[in-house]
Symmetry: C2
Subunit: 238 residues, 2 copies
DNA sequence: GTCTATATAGGGATAGAC
DNA sequence: GTCTATCCCTATATAGAC
């Protein structure tokens, strides 16, 4: 069962170092340094700096000199963690993929009713993107410039996420919880609304909307749209 | 009153050349060529090629040599229309701003009831972004890398658009058409859904959703969310 | 493991011929 | 008004010292 945002945050915080370690092992062939603790420390810096710089000026506009200045490594030092600039992308992508897959599947599975599952999926995605906003933003903005294999992966994971929503909605329709509707279109809509949260974070901050409020808002919009009209013949839209 | 998509398209087609002409006059100081017909012809090519290339690989990753190859101009030729690469952005931005302002205000003003106005605004925005998808996509993706003044303009026009929706919703709430809700949040949502149409165009094409279908879908979602419950005490959500 | 110094190419920008 | 040839800087990438 998915808890409140604060416990979610705490859970995730504990696992981040493990994830960097996994990133290291997955990219061993590209990294010439052998001491694990050193690698983890520097990879963390590199990933953080890359996300910060790429998200503010664009990945291609960020120079490796910028990155060195921001992360505290030298050019030579940096190049013992990557073979070329594109490897940075790969590093970032593996990092996010690992976390996203683990987290979403973990939190969504357990809920019982269709409504609960939908709400859980929305919350898990929002909470995750709130904590990993930089990664989600990067992935969205840079897909088009990713090297082909990374691009395929990025598109695949997008689809996985959309399918989570799609299957919940379909279940709801077939068991009568929801009225008959174009399920895929509704799933698309949910995804667009979830994406807006991390793409336009400032907009919501300015309005003082918290992540919990936004989760409730989306859920209510969807429930109102999908809930069948009451049986006595009263219809909502004229 | 806003008509169907086809007539909308026809209306707009007629005015595009005039708009390029306006772009020329607005950027006279940066363009060293004097023959209007020549300028209009070449500006058209330049704008089209820039949008195509920048949208596929990112503005910063697009080289001016790419642009010359695609547009058919030489480097020297190109440089009689711009002073530097950033001027390209400015060209593109003025082009879109002029069209967007003109079109939206033109189509939205006339509708009478709140529902009609909301529907008209949604349709006008969708139809416009369908016809000028490349521009909308570019503006969204490149805001962060725009030179400061262009960035301000881009943010300002975003706000103008959001305010159009905001004011319609507020009107609806105050005259009782809609139930009391956080109007700004609803306006944000509408905007996110409109943006998804041009940001993820392929997704909708794959689902065979036409622009008219999408307009109706969004409108229905919003109306269902904002319409007050019937007076006899039956509530929609449990 | 990390740094400084350097090689090399690619891209923005311009001069000047036609 | 448009082209070709060229300048020059910047950014990626590497060699080799410590």
């Amino acid at each position: 069962m998915i808890e409140d945002y604060e416990s979610f945050r705490e859970d995730l915080r504990l696992s981040t170092e493990n994830i960097i370690r996994e990133v290291y092992h997955e990219n061993r062939d590209r990294i010439s340094i052998k001491t694990e603790t050193t690698v983890v420390r520097n990879l963390t810096r590199i990933i953080e700096s890359t996300l910060r710089l790429a998200n503010s000026k664009g990945f291609h506009a960020m120079t490796l000199r910028d990155l060195c200045a921001d992360s505290g490594l030298s050019m030579g030092g940096l190049y013992s963690y990557i073979r070329n600039k594109d490897d940075l992308i790969h590093l970032i992508q593996s990092h996010g993929f690992i976390i996203t897959r683990k987290t979403l599947s973990h939190y969504i599975a357990e809920a019982k009713t269709v409504q609960e599952r939908l709400y859980a999926a929305i919350k898990a995605h929002l909470y995750l993107s709130e904590l990993m906003r930089a990664w989600f933003y990067f992935s969205y903005m840079e897909v088009k410039s990713l090297p082909a294999p990374d691009k395929r992966d990025a598109i695949a994971i997008e689809l996985e996420i959309e399918d989570i929503f799609l299957s919940v909605i379909k279940d709801g329709i077939s068991n009568g919880t929801y009225r008959l509707q174009n399920a895929r279109l509704v799933a698309s809509m949910i995804k667009a609304l979830l994406q807006d949260w991390y793409l336009k974070r400032r907009k919501y901050r300015d309005q003082a909307i918290s992540v919990e409020m936004y989760a409730n808002f989306i859920s209510e919009v969807i429930e109102r749209y999908l809930t069948p009209p009451p049986p006595n013949g009263i219809h909502l839209t004229k």
